[in-house]
Structure formats: C-alpha cells, structure tokens
C-alpha cells in the first residue's frame, strides 16, 4: 500500500483534525506514524481524569490543560520533525470559516456531538473539502467518507430524532428510571439550587385542573425560611415532593385509571430518628469539591444499590451539605456530572421517586451515567477506528473514488465479519444541506411568533448558529456581533411579532430564505398556512422535507391529560454506529453480510435510476423506550450524548 505515489500524497497533505479526545489521540498518533507532516487540531476541552483510560497521550499531571496542546506535545516526542498546530477553541468559532477550511486537503472528525458534526459538515461542503466522519461507543464504531457531489454529505442520512418526554410524564406519571432522573435533575435540583427566576414545572396539577399553587406559593414552599433548621428544611422538602405532591397527584382519579398508583412517602416513616445521620458538622475540609454525603454517612461503594432509607439519608444529608458548605453557590448551580454532591443528591431524589412509583432503583454509578450522559468508552475501539480513518484519508488524498468505503466495526461478527466495509451512497437529492432542496413549513402564521420559528426550527432543527432570515429583499432577523443598536432593536421587535404581522408579512404561499453565512448554508422554506395542530405537534409547526429518522420505538407514551402542553424537556440522543448498521431501510451492505438488499439509495457504482425521496416523517413523536438504558441529555447544547447499550 505504501507506494511512492501514496507516500508523496501523504507527505504533502495538510490535514485538519476536529477533536483531540478518544478518537483524536489515537488518530493523531497513527497519522504521525503514517508519515503525515502537517496536522492541525481543534479541541475546546481540557483534560479530565476519566479521559485517562483511553486518551493515552495525556497523564494525570495534565488534568486541566488543553487537550489539543498536550496531544501535540506528546506526539512530537516520537515524531519531532512534523508540524502539529493545536487550537484550544470551539470549532464553531467564526474564525474557522470557509477560508480556513479551504486550506486543508481533508478534514477528520473525532467529535462527540451531533451539533458540531453538522456544523463541520456544512463548512466542508462550502469549502469543497472531503470530510471523514467517525464515532465510537463501547465496542461499536464506524468511519464514513463524505465528498461533495460524489457521496452523501453527513446530513443526507437521517439522524435519529431527539428523544422527548412530555412534561406530564416527568412531573406526574413517570414509568421509567430515566423519568425520575430528569425530574430530580431538571426540576428538583434546579428548583432548590438553581436560578430562582427560571420557570419550573415542579408543581403538580390538582384535580380541578388548576396548578396546585400559584407561582408565589411555589417559591414559598421550596425556599428555606429564615433560621429554619437545616434538618427540618430538608425533611420539609422531602415531605412536600415525595409526600404532599404525590397525594395531590393521586387526587386526580383519571390519571391513575390504567396506571399503578404511586405511594406517598414521608420522612417520619422512613427516617424516624432526627439527626440519625452523618458527620456533616465534623467535616474537616472546607474544599467544596470534597464535600460528599456518601463520605459523611460512610457509604463507600458507588456501585451499591441503596435502600429507600439509605437514599433518604443521602437526600437529606446532601441537601444539608449544600446549605452548610456551599451556600454561596445556591441560586446559581446547574447540574454537573463531576459534582459529586450534586450527583448524590440527584441519585437519591430519583431513587426515592422511583420507589414511590414502583420503578426499580439504581446505583449512584448508574444514575450518574444517565444524568450525566456519560458515553461509555474504551481505547481499543478508538484505535481500530483511527486506523480505518487513516486508511480512508489516504484514499481520499489520492482521489481513489472507487475505493472509498464506509466501515463499520461491529460488536459481534455478522457472517464472520467484524469490520464491514460498504460503498458510500451518492448524495441524497432531497438533502436540504448539500442538494439545496427547499423545505416546507406548515404553520399558523397568525399565531406563531418569529422567535419560535428561530428557536425551534432554524436553530434546533436546521442546526444554524448565526442565522439570517430574509423574505425577498427584506431582512427580518439576523444574529451576530457587529450589528448596530437600531438593527438589534428592530430584530428584537420582530421576534415578538407573529409571522403574518412582520414588516413583510409571512403568510401561506410565501417563500422565505434562512441562511448561516458561516456555514454557507442557505435554505428556502415554503410557507404553508395551517390552522390546527394536535398534541403530537406541540411546536405548532411542522417542517417537511427535513429528513428525520423514524423513531426506533413506536409506542406513544400517554399523551397529555387536561390538554397541557407536552414538551419543554427535550433530549438529544446520538447514536453512533448502530443507527446505520441496524437501520436496514436506508443502508445496504455487501452480500457477505446478508442484510436486506432492498436499498432505497444508490451506491456509487450502481447503475439503477431509482429516484430518492425522503420520508416526510415529521411528527415530534413521544418516545417511550422499553429498555430503560438510554442515556439522557437535557436541553441539547454541547453536552456529550450517547446511546448506551449494555454489552453484557
């Protein structure tokens, strides 16, 4: 394979790596060993202890330092004469514009979130630079090649829909442990320790349909009264959320007709002795990060599953410790998986709620994984994928189009194959990203505000960062740093208007253009007026032509009681390799693998003329996953996502 041609292509190549984590470390090492001499690497992260089991270029002494920089230093140790340029920055930063990307012969992604991947995809298309994508989760992995005009872009194939939970499931009718985690993390923790000005759905609807307390009352209940004894306070909160709120919920007979009734739990029954717990007064260290309810109470093993009584002790102790040792932070805390006390509190709270609803409880270790969206990861899969990436990169540098492959690293061999190469597909003609196909938006233009359109469609669905919205020659909205005050005020005003009342009114039959200049992505959206939307379409808008994978589960979990709105809590699930290997509708593989050959799309080498149409599968489906193992991210953003699948 190492012909002189190849060596020349490799030596002269300028490569951009995005991500210096699990895949990144392995990739940088293999690129250097393979003769690459000019490598640039972008990563915004710093090194954490939990990285060290696989990101082998880092040492314990590097914790806190920039991944990109340390990776570079480590590789220069064994290949001192190559050039590695690190950027400790976010790839979405405007300085990484199309001109920046144009400098490279190939871009290699080692990212862990969909958002950044989409962004890089668009920039690579705009710059016309080949992109090699990859991902791993546990023992699964994949490498895919994307060349503009020749293969699918990263967004041609539908990515799984963000998983959403109706608010009522979280606040009133949880049926799975993950619902309890979401409740504990996004509602209770946020209410007690987070920003008090944030809306919070913690209150349960009573039988008469009205909220059980006005917003003023709600603040009262959760707020610690002046000089209130901390133990008393803890128990009061405990009793309110696990006792009183449950009783209130029970009063609504309808809800429980076909469901198991939860049991109210009161602290006096579970922990009859006050002051039964810990050494919180004796905690010697004032270092906030070492404060722990587990330590204080003598619980050692995070893998243990605690009893209801123990969970209750942890709950109260954790709450106490927040107030005694970290009072200053209260009011501004958000959940962080590396915050031991927060994890303890959320675990305990989720477990007590789970006990109440007859849902199996979990260990801190498991709860942390769910609440913190932890991706399980090992070095070996990353190493294999890195090797496969470099092999593809070399083909790309030589323009060896016929040889490009998407390669899947399977957990269990399929027809004796563990590494399965598949030919890439040609671009999806309906892909709004690479094929410029217009989309259609069904919306009630006299009800929906521009703000909702921007947040829910342009940012969330279309993945644009710095959007610009135009109707004909009229600029309705733009986002950026260098806008003058008048314009900003104008845009703010526009955001509050309903679409039909905008300066150049948007009504049925009009076409608007949304753009992101950094991503060089421009999208035309045809507006279709529609009066009514049902509960499955809580946004009140339906975007058609935007390819979205059908959800893996069909079950619809309890639509809203009392007509309340469904969604404020959403989650992004990133499936790495499974989606394509298992999703037989949209992929076809070598005969050797014996998978269903009825592919809708053409491989590069095939001659058939089947047109490709995307499914208009637009409903925001409420998924109810049976296995309870899925990892949850709340409010998307840059949080790691991953679909956890137990091997054993």
């Amino acid at each position: 394979m190492a012909s002189t041609q190849q060596l020349a292509a490799v030596k002269g190549a300028k490569v951009l790596m995005v991500g210096a984590g699990g895949i990144g470390c392995e990739l940088l090492k293999t690129l250097a060993l393979s003769g690459f001499q000019d490598i640039h690497i972008i990563d915004l992260d710093t090194i954490e202890v939990s990285n060290l089991n696989r990101q082998f270029l880092f040492r314990k002494s590097h914790v806190g330092l920039s991944k990109a920089k340390v990776a570079r230093d480590a590789v220069l140790e064994f290949r001192p004469h190559i050039s590695i340029t690190p950027y400790h920055a976010n790839v979405k930063d405007p300085k990484f514009n199309v001109d920046f990307f144009k400098e490279f012969n190939v871009v290699l992604n080692g990212l862990d979130n969909l958002d950044a991947r989409r962004h890089v995809n668009r920039l690579c298309l705009a710059a016309d630079v080949p992109l090699i994508e990859s991902g791993t989760t546990g023992f699964l992995g994949q490498v895919t090649v994307h060349v503009k005009g020749k293969t699918e872009c990263y967004e041609c194939q539908p990515k799984p829909a963000p998983k959403t939970y109706p608010v009522c499931t979280i606040t009133s009718t949880p049926s799975k442990f993950v619902h309890c985690i979401v409740w504990a993390k996004e509602l209770l923790f946020a209410k007690l320790f987070g920003d008090k000005n944030q809306d919070n759905d913690l209150n349960v609807r009573s039988a008469d349909g009205a909220s059980s307390s006005s917003s003023e009352d709600a603040v009262d209940v959760f707020e610690r009264r002046n000089d209130e004894d901390i133990e008393q306070y803890g128990r009061r909160i405990y009793d309110h959320v696990f006792g009183y709120n449950i009783e209130k919920a029970l009063s609504n007979e309808e809800t429980w007709k076909n469901r198991t009734r939860p049991k109210p739990i009161y602290s006096k029954d579970i922990l009859p002795d006050i002051r039964e717990n810990g050494n919180s007064d004796k905690v010697v260290s004032d270092d906030p990060s070492s404060v722990s309810a587990m330590s204080s109470l003598g619980f050692k093993n995070p893998q243990d599953v605690w009893s209801l009584a123990d969970n209750s002790k942890i709950f109260i102790e954790a709450l106490k410790l927040f107030f005694l040792k970290r009072e200053k932070e209260i009011g501004g805390l958000s959940f962080d998986k590396d915050d031991q006390l927060a994890v303890e509190f959320v675990t305990a709270a989720a477990n007590i709620r789970a006990s109440s609803f007859g849902i199996p409880v979990h260990s801190l270790f498991e709860a942390k994984g769910i609440a913190g969206n932890i991706i399980h990861a090992v070095a070996t899969t990353n190493a294999i994928i890195a090797g496969l990436i470099v092999i593809e990169a070399i083909k790309v540098l030589q323009n060896d189009v016929a040889k490009y492959r998407m390669t899947y690293c399977l957990e269990h061999p399929s027809r004796k194959t563990l590494l399965m190469p598949v030919e890439p597909f040609e671009p999806n003609q309906s892909c709004y990203v690479c094929s410029n196909t217009p989309l259609t938006l069904e919306v009630n233009t006299s009800v929906t505000k521009l703000r909702d359109f921007v947040d829910k469609i342009v940012r969330a669905k279309l993945g644009m960062n710095l959007p610009l919205i135009m109707h004909g020659a009229s600029l309705l909205y733009e986002f950026g740093d260098d806008l003058d005050e008048d314009m900003v005020a104008n845009y703010e005003a526009n955001l509050e208007k309903v679409l039909s009342e905008l300066p150049s009114g948007i009504t049925g039959g009009t076409t608007i253009t949304v753009e992101d200049l950094q991503q060089e992505l421009s999208c035309n959206i045809n507006i279709k007026q529609r009066e009514d939307f049902d509960e499955k379409e809580p946004d009140g808008m339906v975007l058609i032509g935007w390819t979205q994978a059908p959800p893996t589960e069909k079950e619809n979990n309890g639509s809203a009681e009392n007509g309340e709105s469904n969604l404020t809590i959403t989650e992004e699930v990133e499936v790495v390799a499974e989606e394509v290997v298992l999703d037989k509708k949209s992929s076809s593989v070598d005969d050797a693998a014996g998978v269903d050959p009825a592919a809708k799309k053409r491989k590069l080498s095939e001659l058939s003329n089947l047109p490709i149409s995307s499914s208009a599968n637009e409903e925001k489906v409420i998924l109810d996953d049976d296995d309870g193992d899925d990892v949850v991210v709340i409010h998307g953003g840059d949080i790691d996502t991953g679909k956890k699948k137990k091997l054993f």
Partner: protein, 328 residues
C-alpha cells in the same frame, strides 16, 4: 479462562475514577479480573506496541516484555513507544525502551522486561502468565511456544499476530474456554474448544469453506517459505517472489486446490511490504486487545480462531480453521 478471584476484592477509589468509562462497558467485575491478569509479549513491533498500550490502559495486573534486539531506525517504524534519541539507546533493548514508555500510560500496571528468547523459557516461567502474545516468530517457534502453553496444567492462552504491509493476521488458542453469553434476558454459560496452531494449520485446505479469506492461505505459503528457506521472519524480499510462487503451486497441488486460491498479487504485496503499516497495526492491536480483555473477563464470545484484515478490501474477517470433529 477463569482467573481466581478473592472475595471482597473491591476496586479502589482511584481505579473507579480512572476506569469509569470502561467499567460502563464491561462492568466492575471484569475490571477486577483484569487487575489480576498477567500478560507476556514477545516482539516489540508496531502491532504489539498497540496491543500493549491497549491492555495497559485497560488495567491488567502485569505486562512483561521480551525483545532483546537493539534499537535501530527500523524499530521506530510504526512504534510510538520509542522516541528518536541519538545515542540514547546504547546498551538498551527495544523492550527496555518500550517498557519505560508503557509505564507512564497507567501507573497501576506493573510493566517489566524479561531478557532472553521466549522459546527457551521453561514451563515454570510460562506458568506465571495467563496470556502469551507473540509476533515475528518463525513457524517452528510458534509451534513450540504454543505447545508449551498447552502442556501446562494451568491454562495459558496463546496468541500470535503478524502484520505484513497492509495485511494482518491474528491467531488465538484459548484451549478450553468458558464464557458467559447474554441471550435476551438471561445469561448462559458456553464453552469453546480451540485447536493448537499446529492442528489448525494442518487442516486440509480443500475442507475449508469456499469463501475462506485468501489471506489465510497466502500467509501459510509465506510462513512455509520462510521455514524451508530458514529465513528469519521478515527476511523475505521481492527477489524471492518466483520461488514463493513455485512453493505456492506445490502446496496447492498437495492440498488439491486451485492456485487461484492464493493470488500472485497478494503474495507479491505481502513479500514486498516488509514493514508494518501503522493504521493496520492500530486495527490489529485493537482487535487483539479487545480479545484478550474479553477472554479475561469471561464475558462475550471470543474469536475463534483466526482474524484476517486486508486494507485493500477493508474487510476484517474471522475464520474458524479447525477440524469439525474437534469442535465442541
């Protein structure tokens, strides 16, 4: 392959923090077993370097390296454990230099060097280990080492790995291995019996399935050539091609199979490429690492018994080369 576990062996806080992400893959129990496993490797080339990195990061009990060769320019190929250092290597072997690097990857793993030729070590020495992994050894040595493993009353698993240019092969012999397999909601115990290397390569070619990877046969031809010609592994070069093709013809005839089973072009590639290709080292080292970890944990079906990879077609295939009556 069951390692003795003492009750109450908890993971330390340090281990739990470091190994968090992988414990979520294979469980705390498997992690504990890993910490009790002892691995011996011989031949510190690129693929083995990758393997060593993987098992050290995973947290095995100990890793012992065998490779007395002097460090040369060639040693640096595909091996990220050796930093170029003019004059710094005098008096130090490849194993010693690699050992120093590996120690840093995980302070909780004991990494050490054993001097000498692995095939000369006695049974007592072999029985200190649970896994023996070799590369770059001749056919004769492979057989010998494998047999020594099999003679011991303790079950010692044997693996060999070869990377020639952009192709690679892994062989596994776990003798008699019990493991837990998850089927739907329950876990069932399974057992696999493995043939020795000698037994495996003695399986007549014509009895193997038609679509068996050609790379398997090509590797056997080259291996045989090196043995007959008394070349050290890697001593072969392009000028040997005509003789190798002749040998291929002979072997195919003896095995009553068509010569097309072992294409000229494949043999040519394997002979011409004496150096390991780094991306393939990463792939082979990764698969091998995974297999050893799986075998230690006793969970999940280990590969039986050959893994073959060719970057040219990109396929990674498992071939079961054994006599059918020997199968469990």
């Amino acid at each position: 392959m069951r390692l003795e576990m003492e009750d109450g062996d908890e993971l330390t806080e340090q281990e739990t923090a470091l190994y968090d992400r992988q414990i979520r893959v294979w469980g705390a129990d498997a992690q504990r077993r890993l910490s009790k496993a002892h691995v011996l490797v011989a031949g510190m080339k690129g693929t083995i370097a990758e393997f060593c990195k993987n098992v050290v990061l995973a947290g095995i009990g100990s890793l012992t390296l065998v490779d007395d060769r002097e460090v040369t320019e060639e040693s640096l190929n595909a091996n990220f454990l050796i930093a170029p250092d003019e004059g710094g290597f005098v008096g130090r072997s490849v194993a010693e230099v690699c050992c120093d690097s590996l120690k840093h990857f995980n302070p909780m793993v004991r990494v050490s060097v054993e001097k000498g030729e692995i095939s000369t070590f006695d049974e007592n020495f072999y029985s200190k280990f649970d896994f023996i992994v070799v590369t770059g050894v001749s056919l004769k040595e492979k057989r010998l080492i494998n047999e020594k493993c099999r003679k011991l009353s303790k079950r010692v698993a044997f693996y060999s790995v070869e990377c020639r240019d952009s192709c690679g092969e892994i062989f596994a012999d776990l003798q008699n291995h019990t493991y837990a397999k998850k089927k739907l909601d329950e876990t069932i115990d399974c057992q696999i019996l493995y043939p020795s290397y000698e037994e495996a390569i003695a399986v007549p070619w014509r009895t193997l399935p038609k679509r068996t990877a050609k790379l398997y046969f090509a590797m056997r031809v080259i291996e045989k050539f090196e043995e007959l010609d008394e070349r050290g592994p890697g001593g072969i070069s392009l000028s040997d091609l005509p003789e190798v093709l002749k040998l291929r013809n002979q072997l195919c005839q003896m095995q009553s199979v068509n010569e097309s089973l072992v294409p000229d072009s494949l043999l040519e590639r394997l002979i011409a490429g004496s150096l390991e290709f780094p991306p393939v080292c990463a792939i082979l080292g990764g698969i091998l690492g995974q297999e050893v970890i799986k075998a230690i944990s006793g969970k999940g079906e280990p590969l039986k018994n050959f893994f073959l990879f060719d970057a040219m077609d990109g396929k990674g295939i498992i071939e079961n080369i054994s006599n059918h009556d020997a199968d469990s």
